[in-house]
Symmetry: C2
Subunit: 113 residues, 2 copies
């Protein structure tokens, strides 16, 4: 549970930046090199690399180096952690609305035959 | 677009903390006072109030003061901003998979009759 919570902290923090969200979006089209990704921005390579590191440490992307080229790939499963959390909140509201409705219509409506 | 991006920054940042996520989860059950919410944590009221302010400035919660009691309420629409962003990423992957499939099966399969 604590581990899952730490994962959420990292993923939410990584997504709280437009440059990093743009990288996630770009990698949704397929893997790309750090050089190509950096060219999509107006920042220097060292500044951009800091964002890559935040994304990598959050688990949202994987990187691998072949020769002099570092390629980034999206880890979709990590985004699912956020989707799961949001879905749990939504179930809570839906459940609350259902219970309110049940209260208004009466318990005999619970199991209509 | 810039406004939307700033909204996402604030919401993602607000959710990158277990205390603030616990408040969002708790408020999913209905409005609650700052005092009651703070009692669910082990932190002091001033420390907890900082989290309330981050949530409020992100737009995830609204607060109103009646007499000496400040009540917090969840603003579900703000969470929808995150859901929309995630849904857009997912559509991108799905579209990519569809295009790959189309490439493999051939363009004549695009509009089967």
């Amino acid at each position: 549970m604590a581990h899952h919570s730490t994962a959420l902290d990292g993923v939410f923090l990584a997504l709280a930046d437009p440059t990093r969200r743009a990288v996630v979006h770009r990698l949704g089209h397929g893997p790309a090199s750090v050089g190509d990704l950096a060219r999509d921005t107006t920042m220097t390579l060292p500044s951009f690399l800091k964002h890559v590191r935040v994304l990598e440490s959050s688990g949202l992307i994987h990187t691998r180096k072949t020769g002099r080229v570092r390629t980034c790939e999206l880890n979709r499963e990590r985004l699912a952690v956020v989707e799961d959390w949001l879905a749990r909140q939504r179930r809570l509201w839906t459940g609350r609305t259902d219970r309110l409705e049940q209260f208004v219509t009466g318990p005999e409506e619970k199991n209509p035959t």
